[in-house]
Amino acid sequence: MKALVEIHDLLVLRGNHPALQLKHLEIPEGEVLAVVGPNGAGKSTLLLTLARLLKPKQGEILFDGQPASTESDTTYRRRIALVMQDPLLFDTTVFENVAAGLKFRSVPREKVKYKVPLWLERLGVGHLSKRRAGHLSGGEAQRVSLARALALEPELLLLDEPFSALDPPTRAGILDDLGPLLIKTSTTTVFVTHDLQEAAQLSGHMAIIIGNRLRQVGNPDDVFKFPADEEVAQFLNHRTPTGNRRK
């Protein structure tokens, strides 16, 4: 399977301390890679590094076979989209929120008018188009945030624990809608979570990061059956997934 992103010998520091060390990691094209691990393990650091919001101390990131550093930060970031834990919607209407990233890319107005309602519908919030972001519930806001990212049709979608602040029924509802959408659009996705259930439901591949190091990568079944070491086994045993895995 072709890798959209390859990471080699990555070292990222935060405040002079190693926040993430990765010998090698590949993100397969068109697949969802779940990055799981305990709090503070370095999962979000990986995501921010992939978004070029953190500069690695050393190492190389290849994007579509090319060193990511050959492009400017803005050019590179226009190939990706980031969804954070909090929706961080702008203080305007839902429509304008989803249109924002398209406008950054100078997408023609007619195309914006076509794409925004389409993606709002796909995320089940088409009826909220004219509502102001401040008047949305947590679940609605996160759906809008996902629509805002997916409307960009990014080559790489980065999800940083986007459901962790939601109650279980709301979370389950969004996961049920998002999973098929990611498969249908073949969006390469890195999905950071500390919830194994979410990870197993959404992803075909799983990377375990513990203590700022990558410990294991594989399909969820293999990872659960054959943990790479004691710490991975301990982490997995503390959290038992019950969801349906992505086929």
């Binding site: 921010l48 978004a51 919001l53 930060d73 803005t74 970031r77 226009r78 990706i80 989209a81 980031l82 969804v83 954070m84 909090d86 961080l88 702008f90 203080d91 305007t92 924002a100 990233g101 950054f104 890319r105 102001r132 805002r148 990212a149 960009l152 980065l158």
Partner: protein, 216 residues
Amino acid sequence: MVFDAEVFQITVLSLQISALATGLSLFIGLPLGTLLALGKFPGRSFLLSMVNTGMGLPPVVVGLFVAMMLWRSGPLGDLKLIYTPTAIIIAQVIISFPVVTGLTAAALQALDPRLRLQLYGLGASLVQMIWMLWKEARLPLLAALMAGFGSVISEVGASMMVGGNIRYQTRVLTTAIVLETGKGNFDIAIALGILLLTITFLINWALTWIQQRSAR
């Protein structure tokens, strides 16, 4: 005082000077406040402290400084700006730009710092990111504009010192009030005071309307 024509001229001059001074303060203060709020560079805290101190600059001290600079024998005397409307504008910009700068920095620092990451994560360029942050902070930024305008339209000490209160040339509403009070013409001074208050109210009312409309 030939009331109608002269008052009209004084009022127009006051508005022109205040509008220009506020505009220039915004032109300097908005980018500088943004730099201080978002930038990371040595001396940033010191600069921020300077700006915050500048927010409370006594106008007479500014007037003294600008007068010394523009005085005929001063370092900028050759420009022949002393006792001109330009001199008043210079003094008023020095008074109001720290206000706009300080309030801009505070407004942007009050935003969620992750908003910048989110904007970059959606592909915003630096300019687009700053524009979006200004839009997000539009309510306190309009308050900064109102505070900047308020500090110049009501200012009298510096205007008197560097403008000279010359009839038909540098007399503005505030200096005219001082003059008429000094002459014992309280009725005219009160009328001018009411006019100044009304103008200030109308402009702030318009800005508040814009501010509250965007808050909905």
